[in-house]
């Protein structure tokens, strides 16, 4: 039976000793993490170091080999399917690839998760919610467009709007600025900060983009060989003498 972990009360996510192996490849090998309320935590690491695997374990897309993941004090790994789905409503996930449903319009993309959960919302409330999130990302005019008609930056913003439609308490961002030009990347960073300001969300942000790290991070964890290599705030990373750390901030 899983041991009940105790963490500081303010933590919305607590991870201890997380291990995930793919054959001989030890992607996560005893990783620990604490995410506080309204906190933005950036996870840094080289490509293939297990950053995306980490957030997929948190949301339950991948099952870890061992370790404990607590979200709002509940052990994710011991939840049944229904309880996990209910938990997922409180966790937004922004995919690196956006993962918009390409056979649906923007409106249908936004309606899809909402219709399946917010059954108490009437038509008017649902419409208002969609308008609100589209307004937040500045793309109200795209409501009847198909994803194929949108640019990369617009798709990212619509994906962000879809992530926000259920008003989650935590958002997991998988490389939110990857593949975007600097201007669009900056817009996405601004949106991430606006969302935190407006909805008081906590977030784990996977990113290699140092502008994004600098703008968003309250705390940074550097991953190496599946373990926590260094933790601290942006200033402590910038001021670090460690050559491995410096490689990321040059």
């Amino acid at each position: 039976m899983a041991q009940q972990l105790t963490y500081p009360n303010e933590n919305v996510i607590s991870i201890r000793g997380l291990k995930k192996y793919f054959g001989e490849n030890k992607v996560l090998d005893g990783f620990d993490l604490d995410l506080g309320k309204k906190e933005n935590l950036v996870v840094l690491g080289r490509s293939g170091s297990g950053k995306s695997v980490l957030i997929k374990c948190i949301i339950g897309l991948l099952a870890p080999d061992s370790g404990q993941i607590e979200v709002f004090g509940k052990d994710i790994l011991s939840l049944d399917h229904q309880a996990l789905d209910e938990m997922r409503i409180r966790i937004g996930f922004l995919f690196q690839s956006n993962a918009l449903y390409d056979s649906m319009t923007v409106r249908e993309n936004l309606e899809f998760p909402m219709r399946r959960h917010s059954i108490d919302l009437n038509e008017e409330d649902a419409r208002q919610r969609i308008e609100e999130v589209l307004d937040n990302v500045g793309l109200s005019h795209t409501i009847d467009m198909m994803p194929s008609e949108l640019s990369g930056g617009m798709m990212k913003r619509i994906a962000l709007a879809r992530t926000m439609i259920l008003k989650p308490d935590i958002i997991l961002y998988d490389e939110p600025t990857a593949g975007l030009d600097p201007v669009t990347g900056k817009e996405i960073i601004t949106l991430i900060m606006d969302i935190r300001q407006k909805y008081n969300t906590a977030a784990i942000i996977i990113s290699h983009d140092m502008k994004c790290v600098k703008a968003t991070a309250d705390k940074i964890i550097l991953l190496q060989n599946g373990k926590n290599y260094k933790e601290g705030n942006y200033a402590s990373f910038i001021g670090s003498d460690d050559p491995y750390v410096q490689q990321f901030f040059e």
């Binding site: 949301i59 789905d85 996930f93 995919f95 690839s97 879809r162 259920l166």
Partner: protein
Amino acid sequence: MQLPKSSKQFFSEAGAISRFTAWFFHEAFRPRYEWKEFGRQCYEIGYKSLPLIALTGFIMGLVLTMQLRPSMLEYGVEAKLPDIVSLSVVREIGPVITALIFAGKVGSGIGAELGSMKVTEQIDAMEVSGTNPYKYLVVTRVAATTLMLPVLVVLSDAISLYGGYLGVNIKAVTSWDLYITQVYNTLQFSDVLPAIIKTFLFGFAVGMVGCYKGYHSKKGTEGVGRSANSAVVLSSVIIFIIDLIVVQVTDIFGFN
């Protein structure tokens, strides 16, 4: 004794498909029901397959009649041509050929669509939003293929019989009334019922295999192509296996 790798793969795949199928029965009869998506799939799978099924059905009936005529003539039983054509079409050729064409069009389409959704993380996106992608994507498609194939087979049979009528009239003159009366007199309930029942099974197999292959697609766009291809191959093989089993079972119950 250790099983060869190919045998292990075969049993592993068979086990995985069985679990995937069992999951269908687990999800299909529990709310929430995706009626809107089910209706859309019936339209996409059924209505949009109609022209292809109608064309192949017509040609099938026409060609079958033209091919049979010389042999029938040789044995002096040309007058029995409508009987033989109707029995062949309704009992075997109609359901099997239509199911194979259906597998080629619909099975590959489902495999490619779900495969594409898998590799672009759209299925994961449904999962993380707390919705049930299996119910939305698989249950609706499998239910649609199961219900639409029998309808398409009945239409295809009817069009085939009309093709047969034209085939009979190429080198002889037979009235429609005479032709259709002969067809009705030949066909028994025991000919039609097993043929219809097996089309439900064919439809279920095509939908399930297409969804399974798409849902477990890997390795990017190459994997999508492979999923579509293997969905057609596997569902075609399963159609013949189901046909063999149904014929044996109906034989036991005296329907043949």
